[in-house]
Symmetry: C2
Subunit: 398 residues, 2 copies
Amino acid sequence: MFRVITLQQAHQEIEKQWRHPKKGWIRAEESVGKVLAKDVTARINFPPFDRAAMDGYAVRAEDTFEASEERPVVLRNLGLIKAGEITNRSIYPKTCMRVETGAPMPRKSNAVVPIEFTQEDEVVRVYRSVAVGENVIKKGSRLRKGEKIAEKNQEVSPQLVGAMIAGGVEEVLVFLPPKVGILSTGNELIGLGEKMRKGKIYDINGPMLSCAVKKLGCEAIFLGIAPDRTDILKKKIEEGLKTCDVLLITGGTSAGIGDLLPSSLSPIFHGLAIKPGKPTLFSMLRNKPVFGLPGNPLSAFFVFWELVAPHLMRMCGKQSEPKTVEAVLCQDLVSEKGKEEFIPVKLYREEQELKAKPLRMGSDAITVLRKADGYLDVPLEVERIRAGEKVEVRLFAS
Amino acid sequence: MFRVITLQQAHQEIEKQWRHPKKGWIRAEESVGKVLAKDVTARINFPPFDRAAMDGYAVRAEDTFEASEERPVVLRNLGLIKAGEITNRSIYPKTCMRVETGAPMPRKSNAVVPIEFTQEDEVVRVYRSVAVGENVIKKGSRLRKGEKIAEKNQEVSPQLVGAMIAGGVEEVLVFLPPKVGILSTGNELIGLGEKMRKGKIYDINGPMLSCAVKKLGCEAIFLGIAPDRTDILKKKIEEGLKTCDVLLITGGTSAGIGDLLPSSLSPIFHGLAIKPGKPTLFSMLRNKPVFGLPGNPLSAFFVFWELVAPHLMRMCGKQSEPKTVEAVLCQDLVSEKGKEEFIPVKLYREEQELKAKPLRMGSDAITVLRKADGYLDVPLEVERIRAGEKVEVRLFAS
């Protein structure tokens, strides 16, 4: 019934079908955490005009060259320029203007004498010389119009937003995180908050996968719980395909009486050589990727992380590199040959050594993960790992 | 004018004033990334009843003990239980019921024979024996009612949400991230998107700090741009204090003509022995922390990360440990004695070595950070670091 393929083959099949990340223009302030799909260049100079770097007097530097504490230079004060204001006056020889930090420099001035080296009454006495350009931030000195601010494929940080605004950049082209529709199926499922009835269990996959999708920076749209009826399932899938870029459907993928999904979709593959997670399928409907994930929550969790998440991240323009630590296995482990097995582990320190304790349970036992720090990825061909061997543990991102 | 204190002293002053994180009950599905303020225990058993672990026949195990491929045991079929359904029937000797994966086990049954070891016509033939409990997930076996699911101070992950839902947990008590109001001040500021006019510059701090606050998981409320007028500033601050838990006000904190902030607040401290970032102040108004940050964006950025962010994270129940790497300084560096200096650096590899190149610019030059991977924290007493010395680089979280 299943055409079982390996996880690696599955990734290749998915990539073949689903290639193009969506791009879109968004406001610079909304772009943090997203990845640029195009270089960003400055639209204006920063600063856009020569600015006073401190409070003081805008002067012609040459007028101050003779100044000293003993023999101040005397200048005529033409007035005050506050930050945000402008003036039409020019600084002619032996004149100056009071400027606030950030104020535009008046014409023909080329330096600022800090206020602490001056004294003002009817005239301004300058007790220190300044060089040309001293205490002035020249127009475009921090960023020139047309200069590159950031590169394609760079993730936007708050400070980069700062630099983009300095360059007058209002909108940036980013990879748009996909909208991911999540549909839970199964007659036995009720939503958390509904009254518990005999024979029913709470839907775990819907909320759990919604959380995981959001954590990756994608939009999660929970489409609800569908009963095991082909007509309702089809309608829900059609609805989901209208608003979402990707669909995740849990349950209904194995071979039971109520498992209607494979017949409703036309799977490109159905069955993965992984444990847990075998009853997984993938289909393209209306040119959109649709994943059928196992109903068992622990299986759904691993299939999401190992199969779905890397593609969602790729759509966001991001790399997915699992964080790992090396640890020593604390007990023998037997794994089924021909299946890549994911085994939750608890990490602990013993005699200076980081040790990994396997936490194995049924594929329904999502509860086991509350105690797990990460998991082992036991390759297809490995049948046994002995206590004391070094293993690589993939950490759950906190 | 300034009572200049060290960064460490400033942190102590802030902690003295502002101690209690806010807690609140939120829905389990909304708690990912937040930190629990109370242990979480299961409200129901998981599973809530004995469930069939596979598709097959619910039997009394003892009826199958004699079964073999050659000599199947014959049982009478009492009907079908689908997942989500219940039955009133009991399994008496030599009878069985067809069960779907996840269906509740009928009374007096204690094992499931997988479908592939059976044959059904008028009767059900069982070709393999099963042990008591085989292929049955016992009520409460994954999680017992009252069992601890998660601990206070644990950050909630998607898989933990899964475990909490399994335990019927609808709401959890978490540390509520503070609402942070952000107010930009300065006559020279206009909002990005407004028409640029001579003498004006775009407000960088407002959007940049809003982004940084959101990235920490807090709520950012941008209160807009206020001109340098005490009456308007006071009104804006009053407004902000009504809706926000913390206020960040940039600009107006140094000693210029237009710097009205210190007179509007009653600072607990004003002036930090750091560079950039000296004109920083802290006040408690209506029992809420109010930070006055420098108007220069690079200063505001460092003051935010070094002074404000650790307290915001503490409010969220999180530790703030900067990620660091060791690198070799590529050029001599002179730092002002008596000031803790933050110097952006670019990291690069040369001859297998990770090297750090200082990127120094004025405190307005936020644009320098677009090229920086992190920064050095040069202590108060250090005046010089030589090329070739090892330095610790604090990485900007990507």
